[in-house]
Symmetry: D2
Subunit: 299 residues, 4 copies
């Protein structure tokens, strides 16, 4: 079996909407997807970090995937987050996600026992999952959460597996990302994990991005890639620099609470995150509004 999944393009790692009681708001999820579906996004990551998957139990995770798949048209990919610390559980969740119509699964590496997550252990983990999975696997390198940075050597080795399709890299180490592009199997996709560095990453051959920013600015996110590919470098640079403070605000600075507040401000449903995460306070909400306004997303 060899995957023929193309990850060229920009994907949104969607939020999971909660109501005021922190319960999943399935209707709001559909409404958001309807808005995003009108754009040229290549697809969605459902139950990624912006989807607060770590706060959902297994049945909730499956419910979200079911709802999302119904609202995502066939021409847009649904990549399901199916990670778990345990190999067996990751295999099981990936199986269930595939049965619910996921086109691929994205799997962050186990990281609780960091010192024991050596290259061979992680290679076995991903190979074990990929061999049992009915859908292609996208590796998820997420140093801000895992406290680990998957090495170029590991990624290059895994790139040759027929059912491993690429990496979403959130670390921002463009030296390593380019090294992976250079050494990996040609079918392997290196995806920028943030709008902080998607645009410069295109210069060395990143296939696209999975961008928190695409939740609130899907058209601009898609344009970042298109402008580069069309060689409109001045325009591309200007858009990159215009989006940068917005992206910093909804990620490192204000976190999920900030991203959801921005959704609310821009006509989507944001709502509260689950505790211990918190909604954005009034003062920060005003700061965020300013940032969105100066960035041209808000009138």
């Amino acid at each position: 079996m060899s995957h023929d999944l193309s990850l060229q393009g920009v994907f949104t790692p969607i939020t999971t909407p909660f109501d005021e009681k922190e319960q999943i708001a399935h209707g709001k999820l559909c409404e958001n997807l309807e808005l995003w579906n009108r754009t040229e996004l290549a697809g969605y990551v459902v139950l990624g970090s912006n989807g607060e998957w770590v706060f959902l139990d297994e049945s909730e995770r499956m419910d979200v995937l079911r709802t999302a798949r119904e609202a995502i048209p066939p021409d847009k990919l649904m990549i399901a987050g199916t990670a778990s610390e345990s190999t067996a559980k990751t295999i099981e969740l990936t199986e269930r996600a595939a049965a619910l119509g996921a086109d691929a699964a994205i799997v962050v590496n186990p990281s609780y026992y960091k010192s024991q997550m050596t290259l061979p252990v992680l290679a076995d983990f991903y190979t074990g999952v990929a061999e049992r999975a009915a859908v292609p696997i996208l590796i998820y390198n997420l140093p801000p959460a895992t406290g680990m940075d998957l090495s170029a050597d590991l990624l290059v080795q895994l790139s040759h597996h027929p059912n491993i399709v690429g990496v979403k890299d959130t670390g921002g180490n463009v030296t390593k990302m380019a090294d992976v592009v250079r050494r990996a199997d040609p079918s392997f996709h290196v995806m920028a994990g943030s709008a902080n560095f998607l645009y410069p990453s295109l210069a060395f051959g990143a296939s696209g991005g999975v961008l928190a920013l695409a939740n609130i600015a899907p058209r601009e996110s898609v344009a970042l890639r298109r402008l580069f590919l069309e060689g409109k470098l001045d325009e591309g640079k200007a858009l990159h620099l215009r989006m940068l403070p917005i992206n910093l605000a909804i990620t490192s600075r204000f976190g999920i609470g900030g991203l959801k507040a921005a959704l609310d401000l821009l006509g989507y449903y944001g709502g509260p995150p689950r505790r211990p995460l918190r909604p954005l306070g009034q003062e920060k909400r005003r700061e965020l509004e300013d940032i969105l306004r100066r960035g041209g997303l808000l009138a």
Copy 2:
């Protein structure tokens, strides 16, 4: 409500035994506990890091607690690991653990969204859990897993909560631990999270320890503390230095696979860890045997 739980003494963070198919071996769990029960251990942490809790699903976690409670006599404390990234889930698991007879719950901090886990967010998390819990809460600071180090300021603030009983600190920062001893509520227990630094920590007033070492050397672990309290400093130092290479082997060097191999070598049931963790290979097993022999645990 104010806790009257004394954490003076040495506790074993027990392993969760699995059979060859990586299923929970409840009988083996009981057999191990019967051996440990004959010692002067003050109690057990069930479902801590050495218990591979991150690989167990919720029902398995409850099953392990049930089995353990039956095998643990009333004069020894059972501290149940009930952590989850979500506040609500942590509260729920703590409730269920209390219903199963846990004397206290140990809760590692949420760490997936590290940059958002500020002091007030973590203070709210622990306070929220403690207020709803039917048993006292022991904070679990575990930098090797979480990639975060809970600050003295946070611990001191939480020490005044009537239902927060102490901290198991695995970071090994003795400056910080002493600062917490100095500034915390007098009822708050600072517990060394490793035999690497229990012995020197007693010098500034640590109450005791929760030691992986106590799985395989419960009597020596208890003796470390007793010798210091009795002022037998030469003997205590010698024992500390004798145990150190063993403890390094079963923790940072060989991990859970090493700890379980040591259990097998010393008359307990070790068995395999769950994947992605691995059993110790032959060569390392021989190295470990040497270390145990030189440390006087193996004839």
Copy 3:
């Protein structure tokens, strides 16, 4: 006074040649410069990290600057490394470098007392130096050496000083670099400190680079920038990926000993570094040869 120094282009942070007794080989320095002078390099950093300045005493530093200035034609800039932990000494060395004909001075931040090097302290340091300097100051951010990463806020603040001309940033954090481009005074130059990330950095407006690679591949280094500016993106990407393993070899992998060995292999004078640094051993030298050959620098 306001600088009119343009740092558009590619600069070589040249090595300091030593003879077999580790004494400065002034003749070899001139010979190397004669070779480099034939290229389109914009200029040189003399006594940067690749120049092993930390191993030279003050009079040696001045001797190297004197020799270099004589060998560097007026149409190429000479940027002199004048750093010291002490503010007063940095001012003094900058004065002397200017008197010897340096066009600018590059100053790595003091970092021995890291915890005390707060934003205001570093701002005062650079402002104090810039105000007394007869030539413009280029900030040198060098996390691999200093263990610190100068913040965007500091760089943006300093960018408005009329005598601070830019930053050579070796950290590789393209998010931060773009943020500085966006927020800094328009006259401020953000220079990539390594060929690892010069090429992608051009996408967001880096002015150029100060590249160890330019010691051994000056034409390719200049071409990286030219290809991007001309919009020859496929060619540029290919060159970037071709140079990457070479650059990794002569920097993070084999260090100064590797860079000097490569110089020797490519018709320049390399020679030994000063101790404690070491010349490359035979085996690694062969590896390096292979890498240079595969990268097309060696026939």
Copy 4:
């Protein structure tokens, strides 16, 4: 040659006094030493980190050693800081220090080229220095300045050199320190580099300490060790906890400026540090006074 230098006891890493123009105040240096000489301090480290050696040029360094030696009686050791990034320069400075009467030299490891400072390179560095030195060498492990932590393996290897006498370890990793005590040559001294962890370090066999605190509280510093050795553990613990906030204030919190302000407050000469370091501001000076008062050093 085999050293017979005993480093049992407590040493003061003395400050270098400057006058208002930041010039060395030799008279004040003597006056301070006269006060310290009346205590049971085992000796002094001159030109350590608290001595701001990185701000002094070579001739200033020699001048300070000359003055200090004249003011230090023969029964107290003078350990001279002779570090430099270069092996040859370190050898030269050590020679000159020995000629000026130093009893030993303390040498922080080169750290500018961190990635190249591998175990064999550092072993060669220290061996090379020790073999040429007329006085014994004390290794100086200083992670807060160097951004590196010398490994137990390196220290154990070097411990067998007849002219390497011990390590001053400022990292605070008590696990590693005990591992070095256990594995090193019996003649090798492990010295706590801070009052933050001297007291607990005595439990596993540290020989003594080199303590910033001993500048302002020499008698208490000496007592910390004596109380432990006499088995007065309650008294020792109380003194450790009483000194801890003071030590945190004059090191990590307020830095050299804080230490010098404390000297001024306590009847010694402090004076200003050299720039870029700064004297303590008024508000922090009041905070510091409070801390000294609550710690019983100030009436």
